[in-house]
Symmetry: C2
Subunit: 366 residues, 2 copies
């Protein structure tokens, strides 16, 4: 574990102490990874003067790594319970949005002298929102990898191929270009499946004249980006396709441009809805559920992490917070357009938001 | 939802009633799927005289499907909380091994007139252990799909290719042969990575003389099998490789042959350990953690479901319970052999366990 992880643990220790906790037990995988730099550590206990991590892997004596004692987890043992049994704290914070009721009960029973188990809430997720330049660099590379894979696919023949095959090819190409894996299951939607945020790649074959929506992202050193693009298959788009694309593009651009340091978590979403409203698109209550979801969320070790960007969100964007910004509109039975980017919030004097997903957003005819 | 799902819901309703519960809220995805036949239903509430399901998907009015009312879930709403709010029961069973503490609290707060939330435990998982012939047919097909994919790969060139690429190719071939997806991330371990139950396919390139262990499975209509095979890359195995393979093969065969209707969950494991012990392999306490895990577990909508097969497990096998049976031995730094099958427990008068994973277990030289 590097110095940066020790420093992150210090910051979490301060948070936890300020909340009146003697110790904090972190179990959500992305949170544990951020605090340790390891993807074999399954749970982490932060105490006032130290840290213990429970790691899956070969047996061996406990070892020390960057100020953190690493303990092996016997097969069949809950790593959280293992650490709780060693915890002398009287008040322990746990992640109630991660531990099941059954695990929570086992942790409470295992910790000797425990008086109170309290909720850490999303304390670690909130610390994770602002990225350092090293993390942003990993996100930048993840974005480039996905852009490369998509660019290569767009030069190949698409008509007649199934959504599922195109998705698998994109994932293979991302791994070939250095990704650990895809950031999430690649979503390819053709024809009436296009434009949606939630369509899983299926067996429909791409046809001439289709809208084709591709949502993809690479995972690089644990860091994940997401991009969505919509194209037309064939010589040129139909008028209804160009019109729809123009509206969605304008709304998504307005959302991107609304990302400012100090701006509210709700501003990008409101900007998009204003543009869609002016273009005659349905108001949020009447629209499909997907349209009622916010315009995006944070990315880092997870897609869809803090902060959530949406009409009801409080909170303000900081410098170096990476987020997705996506807008989609579907016409039932015909398909639609969805465009999404990953950007890093930056001060306007530094040029405003840094775009990590650079593939053109134009309505290319393929 | 078909009649079979209504009948399963009736059986669960009886269980729940016998435990003194007015209603049962099922949230674990495989359990919900088994009770409804649907993979868009996110939570299911069983009451004394009915059933309500909360499903993701387009908005619309509630609809009735096979005696179950299906309600849409607004974006951002917890389906379990949605159903709890409509629940008039005084005692409600929930899956405490699935609901987080946070969700459990929200369910308790939402249910009007609720006096007591109690634990359903693994009641649904236990009902799921005995499969009907339709389910076994899906497992059989999943096994065949994986066998086909593996057979094709073994005819291709392996030397010089990375573990990760071989894994991706196997997954692509399984989907080409009709799988929904892989049953789990395909594990290819070459050289010193071979023989392990937990190695994730990496960037090591296959070399002449390597052991090559492949663990794969297909998911077909939600049903999943698993098989592990170990081969040698090159003209012929070294003596140490043949010897190790012979021992592991014998131990795994003993485990398979110990599967009987009415036999204990511990018997297959004990049979394997006896053979390994006689062959001079380390006793369980001294062995790697993976060796201390049981020899297998149930398969169906999940890999590693009930029942667990291991030295400390109580309970007896029934007819039509599909399980994995796997044995592996590794020599640190050199690699090892792992062999695993999926079989359906059948009466000896019907020929004993039905093997679903038919690729040869011989130590082929490739």
């Amino acid at each position: 574990m590097a110095e940066v992880h020790a420093e992150r643990r210090d910051r979490m220790r301060e948070r936890s102490s300020a909340a009146g906790l003697d110790a904090a037990l972190v179990t959500r995988p992305a949170n544990v990874r951020w605090l340790t730099g390891s993807d074999s550590v399954a749970a982490l206990l932060l105490t006032r003067d130290g840290a213990e991590a429970a790691a899956a892997g070969p047996t061996g004596p406990p070892e020390s790594d960057g100020g953190c004692t690493v303990l092996p987890v016997p097969a069949g043992t809950d790593p959280a319970v293992l650490l709780a049994a060693r915890c002398r704290a009287r008040t322990l914070g746990v992640e109630e949005h991660d531990l099941t009721v059954a695990r929570h009960r086992a942790v409470a029973a295992a910790a000797p002298g425990m008086e109170q188990l309290r909720d850490l809430g999303r304390a670690v997720e909130q610390l994770r929102t602002v990225k350092d330049e090293e993390e942003i660099s990993c996100l930048r590379i993840a974005g480039e990898i996905a852009d490369q894979a998509l660019g290569e696919l767009l030069e190949s023949i698409l008509v007649g191929r199934t959504e599922r095959h195109l998705a698998m090819e994109l994932e293979r190409r991302m791994i070939d270009h250095g990704a650990d894996s895809a950031a999430f299951p690649t979503r390819v939607g053709s024809g009436d499946h296009s434009g949606r945020a939630d369509h899983s790649s299926g067996d429909r074959r791409v046809e001439d004249g289709d809208f084709l929506t591709v949502a993809l992202g690479a995972c690089y050193r644990g860091y994940r980006t997401a991009a969505t693009r919509t194209f037309v298959v064939g010589l040129s788009p139909a008028d209804w396709q160009s019109d729809l694309h123009r509206q969605v593009f304008a709304a998504q651009r307005a959302a991107r441009e609304a990302l400012t340091v100090g701006g509210g978590y709700d501003e990008a979403d409101r900007a998009a809805r204003r543009v869609l409203g002016a273009a005659g698109q349905p108001a949020p209550d009447e629209a499909e559920p997907a349209a009622r979801e916010g315009v995006g969320a944070g990315v880092g070790l997870e897609i869809g992490e803090e902060p959530r960007l949406g009409p009801l969100e409080l909170g303000k964007l900081d410098n170096r917070v990476p987020v997705t910004v996506g807008v989609g509109v579907c016409i039932p039975g015909r398909g639609g357009v969805r465009i999404e980017d990953t950007l890093v919030v930056r001060p306007s004097e530094d040029g405003g938001p840094e775009l990590l997903t650079i593939t053109t957003k134009e309505l290319l005819a393929l």
